[in-house]
């Protein structure tokens, strides 16, 4: 990779926009991914998937929720079409994440945007949007560093879970199942703190939590997340306008 001249400054290996800095930004999420990835690997193995199948899943699907669902539905002997359909709905929220990131990658070509989007997850989104709070645009190299580190860690965690699954009888005993909620809590609080418009943000956050609880009674879990996000963001937008 050649060094690029950007706004008259040379990008050295450790500037804020470099690939390595993206790798570094990913480090706080590694433990969370690792525990969820291990758990996913264990569940997939228990569902009767082979090691090559598990690897293929983590490489091609690369989505925790989707992989848990696939394993669960395979164990329940669901058809491939039913599984694909369910996964589609569960991961539709990525539309919103991808849309929210798009203003920060306007300087890139569609192909480069596609490469960034391919490895988008809740966690890399959380890290990226927090970085974006201080900037007008995000660096492609930084984002790839973040994405690729998360991706490799996920595949490794899945493989380890599939391989060592039989020895980890009860990951919940060690509180590992709380890694995911804790990471979401961290990403939410860091965002709230970094944006500096506390009142509107807090109102949107509380709305969204209330909505997701209420909606869970009338629709599926993944759909209630999407609906809550759309409604709460719309409220935030409307309130901001009237002020």
């Amino acid at each position: 990779m050649g060094e690029k001249i950007w706004e008259g400054t040379k990008e050295s290996e450790w500037t804020e926009d470099s690939f390595l800095q993206g790798v570094k930004s990913c480090i706080p999420t590694l433990l969370g991914y690792l525990s969820i990835g291990l758990a996913a690997g264990v569940v997939e193995k228990t569902a009767g998937l082979t090691i090559p199948e598990i690897l293929l899943m983590s490489v091609l699907i690369y989505a925790g929720s989707a992989q848990f669902i696939a394993a669960g539905m395979l164990a329940a002997a669901s058809s491939p079409a039913a599984i694909v359909f369910t996964i589609f709905f569960v991961n539709l929220r990525h539309l919103l994440l991808s849309a929210a990131l798009s203003p920060y990658f306007r300087h890139l070509t569609p192909v480069k945007n596609m490469l960034i989007g391919m490895l988008l997850t809740d966690e890399t989104f959380g890290v990226a949007i927090q970085q974006a709070a201080r900037k007008k645009q995000l660096s492609e190299k930084w984002m790839q560093g973040l994405n690729i580190t998360a991706y490799i860690n996920w595949i490794a965690a899945n493989a380890a879970g599939a391989y060592f699954g039989k020895w980890i009888a009860d990951p919940e005993q060690y509180g590992l199942d709380f890694a995911l909620p804790a990471m979401f809590i961290g990403l939410l609080v860091l965002q709230l703190l970094s944006r500096g418009k506390a009142a509107a943000d807090l109102a949107v956050a509380l709305c969204s939590i209330g909505l997701v609880i209420g909606l869970s009674y009338v629709t599926s879990g993944s759909f209630s997340v999407i609906l809550a996000t759309v409604i709460a963001s719309t409220l935030g937008m409307a309130v901001k306008k009237w002020k």
Partner: protein, 105 residues
């Protein structure tokens, strides 16, 4: 390599339906000028989606509001995030809190 044909079909299908929502908005919206109200809306999406995910993880189990040790473990995690602004610290404190709670109850 032992890969069942139905499983392979499922994996390929699932990889396509998880790929499309990830790439389409990034590819299209970065090309067009988003109106001011659209930007304002998108600006709230990160807060709203993370809150919804947190709400679902903490308060919902089997489609119902439920009170689990998870809600208690969330408090030290919240405090850690607030005072240290460290993502890794938050995850570690959360896991440890949950471990202690599971040990106690």
């Amino acid at each position: 390599m032992e890969i069942n044909q139905d499983v392979l079909l499922m994996i390929i299908g699932a990889s396509i339906v998880t790929l499309i929502p990830r790439i389409v908005p990034l590819m299209l919206l970065s090309r067009i000028q988003i109106p001011e109200w659209g930007m304002r809306w998108l600006n709230f999406v990160p807060i709203a989606v993370m809150s919804a995910l947190v709400g679902q993880e903490l308060f919902i189990s089997d489609g119902k509001l439920s009170f689990d040790p998870e809600m208690l473990a969330a408090l030290p995690a919240l405090a850690t995030a607030f005072w240290t602004r460290s993502l890794l610290g938050t995850v570690i404190v959360g896991i440890l809190s949950m471990m202690v709670l599971r040990y106690l109850f």
